[in-house]
Symmetry: C2
Subunit: 239 residues, 2 copies
DNA sequence: CGCTGCTTTGAAGCCCTTCAAACCAGGTGG
DNA sequence: CCACCTGGTTTGAAGGGCTTCAAAGCAGCG
């Protein structure tokens, strides 16, 4: 059931059979959520974390004028809110962008992992630090990259992250988001996202339509985005 | 020596005398760095973390055109790169913005903490998750807030964070940064930062000059920034 | 007293937003 | 089976917030 999560972890470190079992033992209830469903609200006390099995989630914050900023996208195999284990409540909301299948992991069982499996605990710690690395890369995009580069960079990031769990090739992947969703990731208006997507299409770099990303020229796309996958920590080593 | 770090941790959870001792036992060499000194470079293997005792540090990424984005500021009491414990190398650089006094903490000794002090390990994990929360708030600023709001929000954040370690009052705190430094935090040009600071001054909200922030109207400043300190997790509870 | 780094100000321009409306595909119901 | 509705996409025109370029002002210091 958590094969994609294991793929993600094992791309970064060795996970023993015993540790794999400890993870399985930590699993709780499996749930199916519809699209556009906010299932974690900022400030609310949490006693379990959410491991995404299928679909796409996002973390987001709302502003007073109705604007929204998505701070991270989550794909299958990601813990959406592992950080709630130490934070106890979150500073942001989490919602589904597509229909999603998730499995809950009670914090009580995560606590046991920190007590009985220090290495696995460090790997989980690593994985929250990986989320922070993604945040940092988004800060760079939002602060310093042009609209075209931001969009290109996001597609590059998703191609790698989905590739790790077998959901993307060099040429394409499914991405059932709207242009509004993308705009909320990129700090742009959906109108401008539309124009940027048009330019990426005309430059024969990438095509985003009918819920798919078709990459015409991955090298060119990465060049435009100045994409360096180092921030995704794909080197496998002891954590 | 690490009293400010303990103040920071104890604002979020209880730290026992035994845990405090474990932290002291983990300390290594104390170093003094000059201002504008990059002492951690992206990609370089690390075997120790850096606890800031005095001064201001920043994490930053450089872009090909010479632009720079600062992704977080660090104040006394912060671990600047505790996340390198699980990441092993970083995706960003770390530099001093002022002269700084730091103490190194070998990863080997942090590993021992994860094995012998699970609760303290969770508190340290929490503290890297707090950095991620700050990243998210910056994403919101960079993606959705106006230049004026971004600057106001940063001052509010620093007032709280410095206040926790006794380095800020409701009315003022030392901040020996240049307008160029601020611009690199805020995703703006230094020219525009200058205009924004002028407006904050004219609106009688906050004055930034000669290395100090003088807050004329904290409530008004927070209103302009739409500042909510919840993302700093100041509620004390078991982690 | 002149250098250096930082701050301040002005003028022009551009990237992205705003506002508005048309277009399009998929699903529903008469 | 088409008319209609709805959510999403596309395009145009005008405007604004921030950048760019340029230069002057200013404080600290050797």
């Amino acid at each position: 059931m958590i094969d994609k999560h294991l793929m993600k972890l094992r791309a970064r470190d060795d996970i023993s059979a015993e540790e794999e079992q400890a993870l399985y033992d930590a699993l709780g209830e499996v749930l199916h959520y519809p699209a556009d469903h906010t299932f974690i609200t900022a400030g609310k006390e949490l006693d379990r974390s959410t491991l995404l099995l299928e679909g796409i989630l996002c973390r987001y914050k709302d502003l007073s004028d109705g604007e929204r900023q998505i701070t991270e996208l989550h794909v299958a195999g990601d813990f959406a809110d592992l950080h709630s284990f130490t934070l106890k409540h979150l500073d942001h909301n989490v919602m589904t962008l597509t229909p999603a299948k998730i499995v809950q992991v009670p914090h009580e069982r995560l606590k046991r992992i920190t007590e009985q499996h220090p290495h696995l605990a460090r790997v989980l710690w690593f994985s929250t630090n990986l989320d922070a690395a993604i945040h940092r890369e988004w800060e760079v995009s939002l602060g310093r990259r042009s609209a075209l580069q931001r969009a290109a960079h996001l597609f590059c990031e998703l191609q790698v992250r989905l590739g790790i769990v077998g959901l993307a090739t060099e040429h394409e992947f499914a991405l059932p988001l709207t242009q509004v969703d993308l705009a909320e990731c990129l700090g742009l208006t959906s109108v401008h996202v539309n124009r940027v997507l048009k330019e990426l299409r005309e430059r024969k770099l990438v095509e985003f339509r009918s819920s798919r990303v078709a990459i015409a020229d991955l090298a060119g796309l990465r060049r435009v985005a100045e994409f360096d996958p180092a921030f995704l920590y794909l080197d496998k080593r002891a954590r």
